[in-house]
């Protein structure tokens, strides 16, 4: 995601986030973080696209879309 501000007809770029930086924007992950079971365990190992970042220390760099 990228954020911009427009002031006096000038556009400034203010912010960008990637990978788990957009985690908070996905409401579903926030709900799963409050469910009784570990959301990451059920999916782990079924195929490479379902392994989630919480299981991997380098996971911050995995694109969020690859986790679904």
């Amino acid at each position: 995601m990228s954020a911009f501000v427009s002031e006096d007809n000038v556009v400034d770029h203010t912010y960008s986030a990637y990978a788990r930086g957009v985690d908070g924007l996905w409401g579903m992950f926030q709900w799963l973080d409050r469910a009784p079971w570990d959301a990451t365990k059920r999916a782990a190992g079924t195929d490479c696209t379902t392994s989630t970042t919480t299981k991997r220390p380098e996971g911050d760099d995995i694109p969020a879309l690859a986790r679904s």
Partner: protein, 239 residues
């Protein structure tokens, strides 16, 4: 608030510093999620019933064949017959997540004290798909805000007595806003987690987006906000 205008190089340096702080928060958030799941579970034996579009259901039946249940206690009841604005704002953000949650062994419902037909009418107006049940005259909503008899007497139950949550008047039977999580194992329902107030903040992705917008939440800016999503056009037409 004054903001500096910088070069791309200056922005990258500052942004990378911020990234380290964001990663700290992400990792802490993962640790917290694990700690939530380590809480002791409390067996629920009280025979709650709910009115649903599939008929009357027990708490165990609300799981709908899955092993986990999350209930969002939506403030729609005798003291908020129009439906709470904040809960409406939040539900706009939740709606649509239920298919993904269901496929992940989690049933997600809204529960309120208003009659089912009232809830259904509001749900149609808001164009939501999320299941919404009436806890009607049962103690369900109250029980999951006031945990002890003393809580019930002095009204300090909501958000475990945190002073910041004092705006909910439990003694005078005000509706409450909360999330409750349950697990079903061998036909027994256990309560696992509850949160209130800003504890539900992260569930609303509109807040998360505003936290990344240049001017943030801009609370106190004077404009009446949030409104129901079908009310903005009217509000703008009549300043």
């Amino acid at each position: 608030m004054n903001h500096t205008v910088g070069t791309r190089e200056e922005w990258l340096v500052a942004r990378k510093q911020l990234l380290e702080r964001e990663k700290e928060l992400t990792r802490l958030s993962d640790e917290l999620a694990e700690e939530r799941r380590q809480l002791p579970r409390v067996r629920i034996d009280k025979p709650y019933t709910f009115e649903t579009n599939e008929g009357t259901k027990t708490l165990a039946e609300l799981f709908d064949g899955r092993s986990q249940l999350i209930v969002y206690h939506f403030m729609h009841g005798p003291n908020t017959p129009e439906g709470c604005l904040g809960c409406t704002f939040a539900t706009d953000s939740f709606n649509g997540s239920e298919a993904h949650l269901n496929a992940h062994d989690v049933t997600f419902v809204l529960a309120s004290r208003s009659p089912l037909e009232t809830l259904n009418a509001y749900k149609r107006r808001m164009e939501w798909s999320i299941p919404w049940v009436s806890s009607g005259a049962t103690d369900f909503n109250r029980d999951f805000s006031a945990w002890t008899e003393e809580d019930r007497r002095n009204g300090t139950g909501w958000n475990f007595g945190s002073p910041s949550g004092a705006w909910v008047d439990v003694v005078n039977d005000q509706e409450l806003m909360a999330l409750s999580a349950f697990v079903l194992e061998e036909s027994v329902v256990y309560h696992t987690y509850s949160c209130y107030d800003r504890g539900t903040d992260a569930l609303n992705s509109t807040w998360a987006l505003l936290d990344r917008a240049p001017k943030g939440r801009a609370e106190g800016a004077g404009r009446e906000w949030p409104l129901r999503h079908d009310e903005y056009a009217h509000a703008e037409a009549t300043p």
